[in-house]
């Protein structure tokens, strides 16, 4: 097992990793920007190193600064958390060159999954269901017209290097295609420095369902079932739950088997999440893979009893999956997570500032992951997620009741938070009945505004 690990992240996920390390007896090194000097991840790490000024590019995204910190602290490994450097294959390569274990898949795999068209082809070869679409990159608008005819409208053009909705265009008719193709390629080139596009069949209002996987460094892969993440606004998830009401045991079993086979082929290692769209016919279609721990991993921890971050650390130190997971994994009860963001609950404007009062709910079946506290400051430079509220009940009804109870006891003063929005969503009959897809938030906001 590692002796000392550097956590190249901030906020709740940095604290989450610190906790896992401490519970495994691993010494922890936090890095922080000047804006985070008084953060709990700094306070609760064994050591802490300031790596730069507040701006992300000069601190948390500053590879030389992070690596230097790792070197002066003499760590064995770096845990990247999510976001920031976690899916940066170059960073993983620098770690390797510096003889520091990067806790995640090898850079080659991260890179493959980062090139969305190639990931799609890899999944297709392994018989993971994918949406009809182009075989790899579509070079010209003319070529795109050919593919679109074959696939059938509507189609969606996506950036090969994509993410976050940029470089994407939905095309509903051939005459729209040339202009949209050029718009997408230009946007992709600006956003990612790579204008290459590929094409997929466009699914109207799908559900977003993802599978959690764990793979060791000895060729063993297991899935920890799925998460339902359709409650999102502009590709930002707000509420996640597990299991999904839409996934039958048979689907779960089949997708899991296919994924395990596929990821073994690819040489996947460590934790990862395979994202699918579910269409109206309840068919799942692969869209992309996230090669790191997911924000919403605690709901899977709740229903499986597996500590995913500890599993990451154990896997990266060479432990075999059968020593980490019980022989038989079962789904126990139902878990839901609300992402508590520092933002206006209606206008969605970020709300940085000092937290003047902070009461976190507790009690049976309630988990809070946060690095915030009364008198803490939410800096304006970073992600607005300030806490994750996770509940675990014997079934979805109990989990919903628990979440409503917990939300009402989660008091944050001094800044605006998304708590009132979450409370409103939990009142929605459609949400309560489990009848929703990725269009839910748009409709909900239109109805309630």
């Amino acid at each position: 097992m590692f002796r000392k690990v550097l956590i190249a992240n901030r906020g709740e996920i940095a604290l989450r990793v610190i906790n896992a390390c401490r519970e495994l007896g691993i010494r922890t090194v936090a890095v922080y920007s000047e804006a985070d000097r008084n953060s709990l991840h700094v306070r609760f790490a064994d050591e802490a190193i300031c790596i730069g000024p507040p701006r992300l590019a000069e601190s948390y995204l500053n590879v030389p600064a992070v690596i230097s910190a790792a070197e002066i602290a003499d760590v064995d490994a770096i845990h990247p958390g999510y976001g920031l450097l976690s899916e940066n294959a170059n960073f993983a390569e620098v770690c390797r060159a510096s003889n520091i274990k990067f806790i995640g898949p090898p850079p080659e795999v991260t890179r493959l999954m980062g090139e969305k068209d190639k990931a799609r082809q890899a999944m297709k070869r392994a018989h993971v269901p994918i949406l009809p679409g182009s075989d790899g990159v579509v070079a010209t608008a003319d070529e795109a017209l050919g593919w679109a005819k074959k696939v059938g409208y509507p189609v969606i053009l996506k950036a090969k290097a994509g993410g976050g909705g940029r470089g994407m265009r939905i095309v509903r008719a051939p005459e729209e295609l040339p202009n949209l193709f050029h718009a997408a390629t230009t946007e992709a080139a600006n956003a990612f420095g790579n204008g290459e596009l590929y094409m997929e069949k466009f699914v109207e209002n799908p559900r977003h369902i993802e599978f959690q996987v764990l793979a060791d460094e000895h060729g063993n892969v297991r899935t920890l079932f799925e998460r339902e993440c359709s409650i999102q606004r502009r590709h930002q998830k707000l509420i996640e739950e597990s299991p999904s009401l839409q996934v039958t045991p048979k689907m779960r079993e089949e997708i899991s088997r296919t994924l395990c086979h596929c990821l073994k082929e690819i040489g996947y290692q460590n934790a990862g999440t395979v994202e699918f769209l579910m269409d109206d016919d309840r068919q799942l279609h692969f869209i992309e893979m996230n090669t790191r721990v997911q924000v919403e991993h605690p709901i899977t921890e709740a229903i499986t009893g597996v500590d995913i971050v500890k599993a990451q650390l154990l896997i990266a130190s060479g432990v075999r999956l059968d020593e980490i997971l019980p022989e038989k994994l079962e789904i126990r009860g139902h878990a839901i997570e609300c992402r508590i963001n520092a933002e206006h609950p209606v206008k969605f404007t970020p709300s940085a500032g000092k937290i003047t009062a902070f009461n976190v709910p507790g009690g049976n079946g309630v988990r809070v992951d946060t690095a915030q506290y009364a008198e803490g400051v939410v800096p304006p430079y970073y992600d607005s997620l300030i806490a994750k509220l996770i509940v675990h009940g014997r079934d979805r009804t109990e989990a919903i009741a628990k979440m409503e109870r917990a939300l009402s006891q989660f008091i944050v003063q001094g800044i605006e938070t998304s708590i009132p929005l979450h409370q409103a969503i939990f009142q929605d009959p459609g949400f309560r009945a489990g009848k929703f897809d990725t269009k839910f938030m748009e409709d909900f906001l239109a109805r309630t505004s």
Binding site: G52, P53, E71
Partner: protein, 164 residues
């Protein structure tokens, strides 16, 4: 009072503030100064202890690797600060400090040397690269605040100069 006096005073207060001085008395010849800063703690008695606790938590400098000398303590409280009144050059990066161009070579600067703005006064090694640290002010070199081979973090005080 001459402008120079005001400037001096300002610099003094800036300095006192930076070092979180609460009260300040000075009695020197015909000059008497007594100063007391707003104590946020006092007015809000007992509130926000956690935030203060964090703000005042000892700065955890990384444990040095086996071949590194023990890291220095964070700067001592102001009252005892030997750097009072001096200009501090801080590290622009994380890395390992060296005060000479190569092992065994002479130090870039020694106490009492005149230092020009932009003059190289040390090296921070980061990812095998030697980054020259230039003085951001001109003045008399007073002291190097870190030792050779010491791991240092962003913003860590490296040198003190007497300006002018």
């Amino acid at each position: 009072m001459k402008p120079q006096d005001i400037d001096d005073l300002k610099q003094l207060i800036e300095f006192l503030k930076e070092y979180q001085v609460a009260e300040f008395d000075l009695d020197r010849g015909d000059l008497k100064i007594r100063l007391k800063f707003n104590q946020p703690e006092a007015s809000s008695a007992g509130l926000g202890d956690l935030a203060r606790l964090l703000a005042s938590a000892p700065h955890q400098v990384p444990q040095a690797a086996a071949n590194h000398p023990a890291p220095q303590e964070a700067p001592a409280p102001v009252a005892l600060d030997p750097n009072a009144g001096l200009h501090i050059v801080k590290s622009p990066m994380v890395g390992t400090f060296f005060g000479s161009p190569s092992p065994g070579a002479a130090q870039f600067v020694s106490a009492g040397d005149r230092v020009a703005k932009g003059q190289v006064i040390g090296i921070v090694e980061a990812m095998k690269l030697m980054n020259e640290i230039e003085s951001d002010a001109a003045g008399e070199f007073v002291k190097c605040l870190v030792s050779d081979g010491q791991p240092i973090e962003y913003g860590q005080p490296l040198f003190s100069l007497r300006l002018g």
